[in-house]
């Protein structure tokens, strides 16, 4: 484990892993985003209400978040590769069985549950292994991998429509399931790092590990619940909840807001395309910038969050297509930058030894925000009678979340100053903050 922390490849085969993760992002998150195109077809075929049909996606998202900690603890036990391959098979089975389309409950179980589990088991390890393979270039690697989601989402829209027109929704699901089998190919590429064999450490080896204040021997074999005792993680988790409350709201209300301003369907659709494109650009640019190590990742994240909330607060001022497009562009760009860097910040906050557990736990905790946000925003919109209220709410929660980031940063800085004062280092198997520490000195 020490070997893994202090000497990740930081390049070489790591880039193969990045490409593989890029594909997995596309084959999971992007498919989830574009699934809406199947909605109307499924709803009409089963003669159900829109709300009943939308439960499919709700189940997928819920299982995705609940499965994340399970996936990450399985990673620790069975390697990332095995979990990703399993995820690919699960996702494929969900779509392929959805083809049979027996009834709505069947769709919940297949395209809802199985697909959600598959996505969870593919996405979580893919994100995680990129961080394991890199230390100095971690931010760039994470950013490139996450850009896969935007790149694929952009092309899947027209592609799914074509699939439905050629094969119907059933045939479309079946073929998409097949495409998701490629997740297994990506999984096979995710070679476990040699030092992860050390995980089956005998007790004496575990005692010699330097693991922050925590002196417990083997924290790797089991899921690390001790994380919740650490204030940095708690602060970051609260940030995650508030941020998640805000993240799902703008895409939801952008289209109705646009219609309420009198903008027609095709122009509104172009807004979504703009969003996807600037999102992609934002992710890559942020990765490149973070890689320069000019700014601490936590500071970078705080900046991007502040910029998103500013864009969101200004967006309601838009009164025509052009202004709306400009503000949407800003929002999308900074959203991309945030997504690109926030996993790297998690790695910096908890360190690589607990990263897998932290990732799973973080996703689980964050999901509560994702479930609360849209209904709360909807309530505010109904009360105000205007979709702009949703954007104000999203901007406000983001400002609050930034507050937690600042607190986290202060805490970390205080600890670093404390450890500087001590002769022997108090903690820090974290490569990145210690690198920063050296820079300060």
């Amino acid at each position: 484990m020490q070997a893994k922390d202090s000497n990740p490849p930081d390049g070489g085969y790591g880039w193969v892993v990045v490409v593989s993760a890029f594909m997995v992002m596309g084959l999971t998150a992007a498919i989830l985003k574009t699934f809406g195109l199947f909605f109307v077809e499924i709803q009409q075929h089963f003669d159900e209400l829109a709300s009943t049909t939308s439960w499919i996606t709700s189940i997928t998202i819920a299982i995705f978040h609940l499965g994340a900690p399970v996936a990450s603890s399985l990673c620790v036990r069975y390697t990332h590769r095995a979990v990703v391959i399993t995820g690919g098979l699960l996702a494929f089975s969900g779509m392929a069985l959805g083809f049979l389309g027996l009834n709505m409950v069947w769709m919940y179980a297949t395209t809802g549950f199985l697909q959600g589990l598959g996505i969870s088991f593919s996405w979580t390890p893919a994100i995680s292994i990129v961080s394991h393979y890199f230390s100095k270039k971690r931010a760039l690697a994470n950013a490139i991998a996450s850009a896969g989601e935007s790149a694929f989402a952009f092309t899947f829209g027209p592609f799914f429509q074509w699939l439905i027109s050629q094969y119907g929704w059933k045939g479309g699901l079946f073929i998409i399931g097949g495409i998701q089998l490629n997740i297994c190919v990506c999984g096979v590429l995710m070679r476990p790092l040699a030092s992860s064999c050390v995980l089956e450490a005998p007790p004496d080896k575990g005692a010699s590990k330097i693991d922050k204040e925590d002196q417990s021997p083997v924290t790797h074999k089991t899921f690390n619940w001790m994380l919740v005792r650490r204030p940095e993680f708690v602060l970051y988790a609260i940030f995650g909840i508030l941020a998640a409350m805000s993240f799902f709201v703008p895409p939801l209300f952008l289209v109705p807001l646009s219609y309420s301003m009198g903008i027609d369907e095709s122009w509104t659709a172009s807004l979504l395309s703009i969003l996807a494109m600037v999102d992609f650009a934002g992710r890559l640019l942020c990765g490149w910038y973070a890689n320069l190590h000019v700014t601490k990742t936590v500071h970078l994240l705080t900046m991007t969050i502040t910029l998103i909330s500013t864009s969101l607060m200004l967006l309601p001022l838009a009164n025509d297509y052009l202004s709306l497009a400009i503000f949407t562009g800003f929002y999308g760009f900074f959203f991309g930058t945030t997504v690109a860097v926030h996993i790297t910040v998690l790695a910096d906050v908890v360190g690589m030894s607990d990263f897998d557990s932290a990732l799973g736990l973080f996703m689980l905790i964050r999901s509560t925000g994702g479930f609360v946000g849209p209904p709360l925003a909807g309530l505010l919109v109904d009360m105000a009678g205007d979709y702009r209220a949703g954007f104000y709410m999203a901007g406000t929660t983001l400002v609050l979340s930034a507050g937690f980031l600042v607190t986290l940063d202060q805490l970390q800085q205080r600890k670093e100053r404390g450890s500087q004062a001590n002769t022997k280092p108090e903690k820090s198997t974290l490569p990145y903050p210690s690198f920063h520490l050296l820079k300060l000195q």
Partner: protein, 256 residues
């Protein structure tokens, strides 16, 4: 107002009604001295009432579809301008074909926007003929189900699809004043159709996984052989150091 180019307007009537159609002239044309206004339905002239100086209108009582059609108002003066009014409710079908699979159930929907029809009838096309689907016929009752969801919406459910069910279907709404049809296309595919691209993708996945797997095994074997080589080398090196402090390289050569 009429302004030099023929104007057409579609008016939809849901039920029997009294309607007044009027042609109005913009003020800029009022200088035309000799104006002759004729209201016509097809070739028949309809008597008009000259309501004001610049407008001419007719009043119609539409009780059945004999009075429906295109009415035109023609002003002859310096310029000949006209307007056409069509009176007919319209039903929308679906432009995109509905795609379904053999053995599956297909659901086709027709909606009448705004006006409630008295009855719905479904037709299937056999060659160039349209055959009504009568669900009272016991032969057809197992295959077709017609549901009237609400007054304005009707569903045709076709069970146990076969290739013969592929084709054009019509839903006809009967109104007080006439009938209107919507067109729907049903395409029935066999499972083979999506299966082919699917199998192609599965083949691609299997091939890639195998290649990557084999390559990794090959690399591992190389590493293993290299590791064995070096461990043997260092072993002989240390041994030769014990026995003979000098010339370790020659010792290596001798041993291996």
């Amino acid at each position: 107002g009429v302004s030099g180019t023929p104007v057409e307007k579609n008016i939809t009537l849901g039920s029997a009604s009294r309607i007044e159609l009027s042609c109005r002239l913009d003020n800029k044309y009022s200088h035309f001295k000799s104006l002759q206004v004729t209201w016509k339905r097809g070739n028949e002239t309809v008597r008009h009432i000259n309501k004001t100086e610049n407008s001419w209108s007719i009043q119609l009582r539409i009780l059945d579809n004999s009075k429906l059609g295109s009415y035109s108002c023609t002003l002859k003066g310096e310029e000949e301008v006209g307007a056409m009014f069509h009176l007919q409710p319209k039903i929308e079908g679906k432009e995109k074909p509905i795609i379904s699979y053999e053995g599956d159930t297909a659901v086709m929907t027709c909606e009448s926007s705004g006006y409630t029809p008295i009855a719905w009838t479904w037709y299937m096309t056999n060659g160039s003929e349209q055959i009504a689907i009568n669900i009272n016929d016991s032969l057809l009752a197992d295959k077709y189900v017609i549901n009237t969801i609400s007054a304005n919406v009707t569903h045709l459910k076709i069970l146990e699809l076969t290739k013969e069910d592929d084709g054009v279907y019509w839903c006809e709404a009967a109104f007080e004043l006439g009938k209107s049809k919507g067109k729907l296309k049903l395409k029935v595919l066999s499972f083979m159709v999506p299966l082919k691209p699917f199998l192609a993708i599965v083949a691609e996945v299997v091939v890639l996984v195998t290649i990557i797997f084999l390559y990794e095994m090959y690399l591992k074997k190389k590493e293993k052989r290299a590791a064995e080589f070096w461990s043997l080398t260092s072993l002989s090196y240390s041994k030769s150091e014990e026995s003979n402090g000098l010339e370790s390289s020659s010792a290596r050569h001798r041993k291996i």
